[in-house]
């Protein structure tokens, strides 16, 4: 369905992404001639950073798409559901225990464990005995778990005098600084694999939006699908959190805007959201590192600052339906 149209959409989004990368590549804290950029190593730093922004943006917005489809809730998003906080708490515990220096896998692994535990907890809290997961209960559970996780984090921060913790505080504010190709490779590998699986199975998400029972009636193995997608979304969120800390709003505004532009069909929505999310984060990071350069502001501040009003605008434009 709409096969040709899909390619046009992807092409347009790719061109915009390429443009954003181009702008981002030649804007930064330091103004130097291109030839010197190659010599000095600045170009490598910027490329690494742009790659991280692409993978993180794609991962966050596709996680948003998945949570929204699975939970049939337009406001579901890794940040709001507490999944990001869970991953953040996991990673913070790893930092405090000094696991981060043991292995490059320690931080992503604990972040993933935190993310999975959180989504499990939120889902269990919200699920009624009948198996139904009411929208508002789920949001409420997310808010409460989020608050609980934040207070645990604050508790750890306040009782420990370890200097690593002050790193945690800075780190949690979200930042796309990247120093290590290894971490970038790891994060991008995880995101790329997850993204490929989600794109391949995206039609299942269409069916899941109707609810678990109708999806089962159409022949979908609902439990398996649900588990797989929760796993994929948590993996992507965890990889992003481990590499860049907490970045809110991307998973909310990007899927919404893309749905508004190209409709709700997940077979296009997933990949288009990935491209749009990548573009958004590349630009947001460009702002974060140039607006008061050479000082950087946390990227979470930028995404919320751009995302908040934009989201309100969307809501106001189509009050009747949250979804579009």
């Amino acid at each position: 369905m709409h096969k040709q149209k899909s390619w046009i959409i992807y092409l347009v989004l790719l061109v915009i992404l390429a443009g954003a990368c181009g702008v981002s590549l030649f804007a930064g804290a330091v103004r130097v001639p291109i030839s010197e950029m190659f010599e000095s190593g600045i170009i490598q730093l910027r490329i690494a950073r742009i790659l991280l922004a692409i993978f993180a943006g794609a991962a966050l917005s596709v996680s948003g798409v998945i949570f929204q489809a699975l939970l049939r809730n337009p406001l579901a998003e890794p940040y709001i559901l507490g999944v990001s906080s869970g991953a953040g708490l996991g990673a913070s515990i790893a930092i405090v225990l000094g696991l981060g220096t043991l292995s490059i896998w320690a931080l992503p692994a604990t972040a993933f464990a935190g993310a999975m535990l959180t989504i499990f907890l939120v889902y269990r809290l919200a699920r009624e005995p009948s198996g139904v997961v009411p929208v508002y209960t789920l949001l409420l559970a997310g808010v409460i778990v989020n608050a609980a996780l934040s207070s645990i984090l604050m508790f750890i921060v306040s009782v420990s005098s370890s200097d690593e913790l002050h790193n945690v505080v800075w780190w949690l504010l979200g930042n796309l600084q990247i120093f290590d190709w290894q971490l970038l490779k790891l994060a991008s590998f995880v995101v790329a694999v997850c993204l490929t699986v989600v794109v391949i199975l995206s039609n299942d998400l269409n069916i899941m939006t109707m609810g678990e029972e109708p999806a089962a009636h159409l022949g979908l193995n609902v439990e398996r699908t649900k588990k797989l997608f929760f796993l994929l979304a948590s993996l992507m969120t965890a990889a992003t959190v481990a590499a860049c800390g907490l970045i809110g709003f991307v998973g909310l505004i990007i899927p919404h805007s893309v749905r508004l532009a190209i409709g709700p069909d997940h077979r296009r929505l997933v990949f288009a959201s990935a491209l749009a999310g990548a573009t958004f984060l590349v630009l947001a990071d460009g702002v974060a590192r140039t607006i008061i350069a050479p000082t950087e502001i946390p990227i979470g501040v930028v995404t919320t600052f751009i995302g908040g009003p934009f989201f309100l605008f969307l809501l106001k434009r189509k009050k009747r339906s949250y979804w579009c």
Binding site: G28, S40, G41, I42, R46, E164, T295, E296
Partner: protein, 307 residues
């Protein structure tokens, strides 16, 4: 009850390590000249310190036996840990504080109005000390010396410290500003945080005969874009965070795009530097400045002492 504003939490967490201070302020009502007699009339003085650098100064002034309260962060010298704590830095428990019945409260921050009222009602003298630089720290030491009845000792200690600073200054005397080593101080590595021109650590670097590459930045502790460090091209990189610093030099050298930085090409990553000496605006600054100056100006310890 907290002696702080809620939204300042982040600031305080950073301040735990850094003790960011900017203005010297003496609370006027409490600034009566104490007896000059060294401690005779003040042997029963009960003191509470609300910052680790203040606690360190009280130890230097030899009045630790009169110190009845400290913060959780006051962990140096080790004996400080035996003193009862009134809470975290910036979040002292006012009830606990009052129950210790102190005569003198020394704090880095002006307390809130209501807390101030409680303190003055209890007849507690208040001394607010915030040093912006090394000289400010020395002045602060004198103020505290006066308040605890050890002005003469304070003067002696300050004179000694001043002498040591003068010796250090001789290490790089006559050197052109351009000849001085350019230093990049790393407070956090993820994200990258350094010290700006208004931080007292900037003064520490200057007194040690270095040039802080980030001196032009007005914030005290800016989160900095790593590509700016490439442009600054420092001669020395000093990681000042604690925790596991085992392979920090390798980590820094391996950073994307940093291989061309002078400090990295010449292996000038000073990962052994005891960063805790300069993180607090306390008396140990002098030791930190000495060690840093020795490192920057290649003088051996012996040579330095002889001078």
């Amino acid at each position: 009850m907290a002696v702080k504003k809620q939204d300042n939490l982040k600031y305080y967490m950073i301040a735990t390590v850094l003790v960011a201070v900017s203005i010297v302020m003496i609370f006027s009502g409490t600034n009566q000249t104490p007896p000059v007699d060294d401690g005779v009339n003040n042997s029963n003085l009960r003191i509470v310190s609300l910052a680790p650098n203040i606690t360190e100064m009280l130890f230097v002034l030899g009045v630790q036996d009169r110190l009845v309260g400290r913060t959780d962060c006051c962990d140096y010298p080790p004996a400080a840990k035996n003193i009862e704590s009134v809470g975290g830095l910036g979040i002292a428990n006012i009830e606990k504080l009052l129950s210790l019945k102190p005569d003198l409260l020394i704090t880095p921050n002006e307390p809130e109005k209501e807390v101030y009222k409680l303190i003055s009602q209890a007849g507690i003298k208040l001394l607010v000390v915030q040093a912006p630089n090394v000289q400010g720290m020395l002045d602060e030491l004198f103020e505290i010396g006066q308040a605890v009845g050890r002005p003469e000792l304070a003067k002696r200690v300050i004179a000694e410290m001043q002498a040591e600073l003068d010796v250090v200054a001789r290490l790089y005397k006559g050197a052109d500003h351009d000849e001085l080593p350019r230093v990049f101080i790393e407070i956090s590595n993820d994200p990258l945080v350094t010290i700006g021109g208004r931080s007292f650590i900037n003064d520490v670097v200057t007194r040690a005969g270095g040039v802080n590459v980030a001196a032009g930045i007005s914030e005290s502790y800016p989160c900095i874009n790593p590509e700016k460090v490439i442009e600054w091209d420092p001669d020395v990189i000093i990681p000042c965070y604690m925790g596991n610093k085992e392979n920090i030099a390798e980590q820094i050298s391996g950073r994307i795009g940093w291989d061309g930085i002078s400090a990295i090409r010449s292996g000038q990553i000073y990962s052994d530097f005891p960063g805790d000496l300069i993180m607090r605006g306390g008396p140990r600054l002098i030791e930190g400045i000495k060690i840093l100056a020795q490192h920057l100006h290649g003088k051996s310890n012996k040579e330095y002492v002889v001078r």
